[in-house]
């Protein structure tokens, strides 16, 4: 999706209630995608620190949020430093 179209649609404030609910769906989408990407990263052997760096949050934050939610069959890397 081209950013201009997103910006146009998101800027449509004629029906704020529908707009706000759409933003809530966007948040749900973002959360669902984030978990998938975190799992993919761990499967690819990335460390929690590398995942945190890419997401722009602290290692503690990403670990706290996902340690118990990820697929238990994933081998979770131990902290080395």
């Amino acid at each position: 999706m081209e950013s201009t179209r997103v910006a146009q649609a998101a800027a449509d404030t004629t029906d704020p209630r529908a707009g706000l609910r759409a933003v809530a769906s966007l948040r749900t989408l973002a959360d669902a995608l984030e978990l998938r990407q975190v799992e993919a990263a761990l499967r690819a052997g990335m460390s929690w620190q590398q995942i945190a760096d890419a997401l722009g949050v602290t290692r503690q934050a990403v670990h706290k949020k996902y340690a118990k939610k990820i697929d238990p069959s994933i081998e979770v890397p131990r902290r080395t430093s």
Partner: protein, 344 residues
């Protein structure tokens, strides 16, 4: 059933089902739409009212997916919320709740409200975000129509235990008393399962499929006319489960299997000959949009206490009764939920 137990059992059953539905799509918190999906498959008035309106779990799930897709499209984004289509609840353990979703359950148990599934549905219908109204419109109905159908739906007919609206014991309750009379700890409860009776039968009558719905059993092997089950030592979420060595092996017998609607299992522990045996009886009845499945769970006593413990047994039994009743109910609920989860 007291108001407290009504609120507690409704809260527990709905929160498990809502959490299971939320777990199908990644990380999302439990939100209003998941409570609605939980109501669609709930036993009791709310579920029956919704299903009588032709709302099945599949249709409701599709409506939720469509709603998100359309809302994203309104922002100029073409995307689906990714879903694996399978319940990951057991792997992920407890889930976080969105405040507005949690409020639906707490408000339903408030003053002058019954705290049953019907009360939660009423709260959901008047939920201010408009999410449920949108979903209902996609299902070809309105909050008013659902409310009218709910008013016209009579309380449950046959309920044998906690976890359902209006706990009047029916046929199942009588069977429970018979079991209780033979020195057993037993609870029965009925759940709605969104699958055809034949599919439920195929699941619950096959010993090899017991691990799909009995969380305590990891593997099954056939041993002549009986089966041998091995306790699950690694939980679904990867944690190690402590199981006493004597309880790791169980002998599983199928006591009865009648006409595709009634099956009785008896699990005994050969390494703990004095230990209680587990009895699981499942009855399947057709219902609108699926099946009503009644699970009777009982601990069958093999031998009573001896020596000093025999003297104090009546007292400890009396003191422990409410707790034991609750524990046995949760065990029955776990089995019933397992059957429902395996078929969703």
């Amino acid at each position: 059933m007291s108001k407290f137990t009504q609120v507690a059992s409704t809260g527990l059953t709905l929160s498990i089902a809502a959490g299971e539905e939320a777990s199908r799509i990644g990380d999302g918190k439990v939100d209003v739409e998941h409570v609605f999906l939980a109501l669609v498959i709930s036993e009791g008035r709310a579920g029956r009212a919704l299903r009588d309106l032709g709302i099945t779990l599949d249709r409701a799930r599709t409506a939720v997916t469509d709603m998100h897709r359309d809302q994203l499209a309104s922002l100029g984004i073409t995307a689906e919320i990714p879903s694996e289509g399978r319940i990951r609840f057991l792997e992920q353990g407890g889930r976080d709740w969105n405040e507005r979703a949690l409020k639906l359950l707490t408000e339903a148990g408030g003053p002058r409200k019954a705290g049953d599934t019907a009360a939660v549905l009423r709260e959901t219908l008047s939920e201010p975000s408009g999410v449920v109204e949108d979903i209902l419109a996609r299902l070809g109905t309105t909050p008013e129509k659902v409310r009218a159908r709910l008013d016209a739906t009579t309380p449950a007919v046959a309920n044998g235990g906690a976890g359902n609206d209006d706990g009047e014991p029916g046929a199942h309750g009588q069977r429970k008393r018979r079991l209780m009379g033979s020195h057993t700890l037993a609870r029965a409860l009925t759940v709605f399962v969104p699958a055809a009776p034949d599919d439920v039968w195929a699941l619950v009558s096959d010993a090899m499929r017991i691990p799909e719905w009995d969380l305590g059993i990891g593997t099954i092997t056939r041993d002549g006319s009986v089966w041998e089950g091995r306790a699950r030592t690694i939980a679904h979420d990867g944690r190690r489960v402590k199981v006493k060595p004597a309880l790791r092996r169980q002998t599983i017998e199928r006591i009865a299997a009648d006409a595709r609607h009634h099956v009785e299992w008896l699990m005994s522990y050969p390494d703990a000959p004095r230990g209680n045996r587990r009895s699981i009886i499942v009855d399947i009845a057709p219902a609108t949009g699926g099946s009503d499945v009644t699970v009777q769970f009982a601990w069958v006593k093999v031998s009573g206490p001896t020596g000093f413990r025999k003297l104090v047994a009546p007292l400890t039994r009396m003191l422990a009764r409410p707790f034991v009743r609750f524990v046995v109910w949760t065990q029955a609920l776990s089995l019933a939920n397992g059957i429902s989860r395996a078929l969703r």
